[in-house]
């Protein structure tokens, strides 16, 4: 008698498996190659390729640095199975707080430390709302977002210049630029990628983030206190938002009330494109950075080719949806089975 169970199942090779799980590597290469190609003079580029240049690559790296830091914070939150809608206003809030302090002559280092603490505090608040009261993260962080919006508008009704005349302003923008590929965001993103990767892989706390998001119940049963880990993840998210807020503030020496608008959504899309799972339990910093890079390359190349923001938005949206569809059909799940 034939036994149904014993029929050979087609197994993917290790390489195929790896790329199915990390399709972002291929997407990134593809997008970068396409961008470099399309921007060349023969095709869409004008007289010369303005995308595929050294100086633009430096700019691109800096952008990936600034927005990558924000996205890394969100990656922690995603890994524990949460979501944080308030990160955009966290950025504006932290930048505003820093600007206020810097203007009133508070020592810059102290102001930076206080700002980072404020970011962590907001993140912790989010974590507390989600884990202690049990409000779904979508709603809890929406509420915090709304409240933060009010606070930001009060602290910073329009824009606050840190003042380039001040010592602080001068030093910071100088540090921000440094020279060549070496800008503050690039240095930070490299350091943080390494630190966070080690944290997620080699520390018990970081490693247990995956358990929290992957199987909360299992975490509970084995006593790792997933609620506490969620709070830590949200707090790290707040820390990263604060850092991003500081960087944005350094870049222009000003804090504006709307500086966080839209970058939250971009960060969410970027890490999803990178392959970080919104349902939790999967993702890492490399995926996050590559996802951010894909989105930034698309934006950058289209700017260089003088397409309007409309086209940029359109293409970004289409890329996000295509990646979702790709995941849907390579995940190998039964389409009929919900």
């Amino acid at each position: 008698m034939k036994q149904a169970e014993k029929l050979p199942v087609k197994e993917d090779s290790k390489v195929v498996k790896f790329f199915k799980r990390n399709n972002i590597i291929l997407i990134l290469i593809l997008v970068y190659a396409a961008a470099a190609l399309l921007a060349s003079p023969g095709l869409l580029g004008g007289k010369k390729n303005t995308f595929f240049t050294v100086s633009n690559t430096y700019d691109l790296l800096t952008l990936v640095g600034v927005y990558g830091i924000l996205a890394m914070g969100l990656t922690f939150v995603f890994i524990v199975g949460g979501i944080d809608l308030s990160i955009g206003y966290q950025v504006a809030f932290c930048a505003a707080i820093f600007a206020v302090m810097a203007r009133s002559g508070v020592n810059v280092i102290l102001a930076m430390v206080i700002t980072l603490v404020c970011g962590c505090a907001v993140g912790y608040l989010n974590g507390t709302i989600v884990t202690r009261i049990g409000i779904p993260p979508l709603i809890g962080t929406l509420a915090v977002m709304t409240a933060l919006k009010g606070i930001v508008y009060i602290i910073c009704p329009d824009s606050l210049s840190v003042g380039s005349a001040t010592l602080a302003g001068n030093t910071l923008s100088a540090v921000y630029k440094l020279g060549g590929a070496i800008t503050l965001p690039v240095i930070l993103i490299v350091i943080l990628t390494v630190v966070f990767t080690i944290f997620l892989k080699y520390t018990v706390t970081g490693s247990n983030f995956y358990i929290t998001g992957g199987n909360f119940e299992a975490g509970m049963l084995s006593g790792i206190n997933p609620n506490r880990l969620s709070r830590i993840a949200y707090t790290l998210g707040g820390f990263c938002s604060a850092l991003c807020g500081l960087l944005l503030c350094f870049r222009t020496n000003t804090a504006t009330y709307n500086m966080g608008d839209g970058i939250d959504i971009t960060a969410i899309c970027a890490i999803v494109v990178g392959g970080v799972k919104m349902q939790g339990g999967r993702g890492n910093m490399a995926m996050c950075i590559m996802g951010v890079a894909v989105i930034q390359i698309i934006t950058n190349v289209m700017n260089k080719l003088h397409y309007s923001t409309a086209v940029v938005a359109l293409v970004t949206g289409i890329v996000v949806i295509l990646v979702l569809i790709l995941d849907r059909f390579t995940s190998g799940r039964d389409v009929l089975d919900d």
């Binding site: 520390t203 995956y210 199987n215 084995s222 339990g281």
Partner: protein, 501 residues
């Protein structure tokens, strides 16, 4: 601590939930290195007892002694620290994480504050060897089979230096081979002086594995005995407290023309070449071990799962393209095995649940006829004796038996020609069971063709006219149920043997 010494002793444990006395004075003991089985019907109090043992629940009264010292566990963590681990019915595997991390969850080896991967993988290899498993520690646990995941859970208990491993229905989703493997591991564990509390409704497994057996009924322990001193029949008698006879009250029904025809139905790697017919007024039983593919076949017959080849016909008409809506339209109804996942909308009212498959009949041009809808629901609540204050009651608040009646009501309301019931009495008390058999009898008398899928051999033989056995996705035999048909014959076919004649 040597083999045979008493490790855990519980005395007169009482657990009271608001309105329910789930445990009403249970006493028994577990010795080092023994396999002690707990038997009892669903709702007898086994799960509550386990939860008290593992620290998930605190007891209301009574004593819980480990090595002679009284303990008061506030969390599962504390129980684990004292050597009491549990392998849960619902697996607690983290699918996206490696086998190694799943084994050492909550217990990762550290060096200088960092995870010591070298030790982690070495220790994992060690545990895997103990479990006779040859897999890569770095592999994602989600890619393992259910049986392997179960082993990982047992391995998890080993990493915690467990002295007692509680296994709650461990074989319910294992294949035959995997079950044998589990038994081998259990024997090894016993050799290492680890005690096992084994909970299963499969009495042959219990008899095979146990040193001692305790039967629980209505929250009390009825009897504890050595395996050698008892028989399956005695266990059953103890579990149900009365003889099983006459529960089914099978009546002879005139069998009419063919209603459902299933022809050469196959799905790659799941089942193949399934042929059968069901006639008006006939009850066809499907028997096979869990994992044999019975439920999968029924899901495909109903159009809920895809199939690669074959056909399903109702009164001669082929269902194509096959989906549940079309099946229902042609008079098929399917009360699934997993009520909560596939049968009910727990957040919605009884009325909504009962009428969801009948929207067409209870509406005019898409607008619901509320009066008709309420009347229909009330009628079924009364005729099936669903215990509820109102049809507006949320289904999530009902007991298992009443929930099953809501599922049956939903399907009876569609006035089906063919009714498929998958494990109709799982998780239901004895009283409700008899009621449900009564309903099936009534339906057969009124000319409905019925398919009963069950893993309880008594049940399937008690209610059916015809019996089909399934083994590893294939039909192995078809019997007419006569008084001469023996359980042994059916069981041997369900285990892959060929029919005698």
């Amino acid at each position: 601590m040597s083999r045979g010494d008493t490790f855990i002793e519980v005395k007169d444990i009482v657990k009271v939930f608001p309105g329910v006395r789930a445990l009403d004075g249970v006493s028994f003991d577990i010795r080092e290195g023994e396999c002690h089985s707990l038997c009892g019907e669903n709702g007898a109090g086994k799960s509550t007892l386990i939860k008290v043992l593992t620290g998930a629940h605190e007891r209301t009264e009574g004593q819980y002694l480990i090595d002679g010292n009284e303990v008061h566990f506030k969390s599962t963590q504390e129980a684990i620290a004292m050597g009491v681990s549990c392998v849960y019915q619902e697996l607690s595997i983290v699918p996206e994480q490696s086998v190694a991390k799943n084994l050492f969850i909550g217990n990762l080896p550290k060096k200088n504050g960092m995870i010591d991967y070298r030790k982690l993988y070495a220790d994992t290899k060690d545990i895997l060897t103990q479990l006779d498993m040859d897999i890569d520690p770095r592999m994602n646990a989600g890619e393992l089979s259910i049986g392997q995941q179960q082993m990982i859970e047992i391995g998890r208990a080993l990493t915690r230096k467990a002295r007692l491993i509680i296994m709650d229905e461990p074989t319910s989703s294992l294949s035959e081979a995997e079950t044998d493997k589990l038994f081998e591991i259990c024997a090894k564990l016993k050799e290492r002086n680890i005690a096992i509390v084994y909970i299963s409704h499969k009495l042959d497994e219990v008899m095979h594995l146990s040193d001692r057996i305790t039967v629980i009924r209505d929250g009390k322990n009825i009897v504890s005995m050595n395996k050698e001193d008892t028989t399956q029949e005695e266990l059953i008698a103890n579990m149900i407290g009365r003889s099983l006879e006459n529960m089914y009250n099978k009546e002879k029904v005139e069998i009419g023309e063919t209603v459902l025809e299933v022809i050469k139905l196959s799905r790659r790697n799941v089942f193949h070449d399934i042929d059968f017919t069901v006639h008006k007024g006939e009850v066809v039983g499907f028997f096979g071990l869990v994992g044999a593919g019975r439920s999968e076949i029924m899901r495909a017959v109903f159009g809920a799962d895809p199939y690669d080849s074959g056909a399903v016909r109702i009164t001669g008409e082929e269902l194509k393209p096959h989906n549940p809506a079309l099946s229902i339209e042609h008079g098929m109804a399917f009360a699934t095995e997993d009520r909560k996942k596939e049968g009910l909308m727990l957040r919605l009212s009884i009325m909504m649940n009962m009428t969801i498959s009948n929207l067409k009949r209870l509406s005019h041009f898409g607008v619901m006829d509320k009066k008709k809808q309420q009347d229909a629901a009330k009628e079924f609540v009364e005729s099936l004796r669903v215990k509820t204050p109102s049809i507006a009651q949320l289904v999530g608040n009902l007991s298992g038996g009443n929930q099953q009646k809501v599922v049956l009501s939903k399907w009876l309301m569609t006035m089906p020609k063919v009714l498929i019931v998958d494990e109709p009495t799982r998780g239901i008390d004895v009283g409700s069971k008899a009621e449900i058999y009564g309903i099936l009898n009534e339906l057969a008398k009124s000319g409905v063709a019925i398919i009963v899928v069950s893993s309880e051999i008594e049940e399937v033989m008690g209610v059916s006219d015809k019996l089909i056995t399934i083994y590893e996705g294939a039909k192995t035999a078809e019997f007419d149920v006569t008084p001469e048909l023996t359980r042994e014959e059916v069981l041997s076919c369900a285990l892959g043997g060929a029919p005698k004649s």
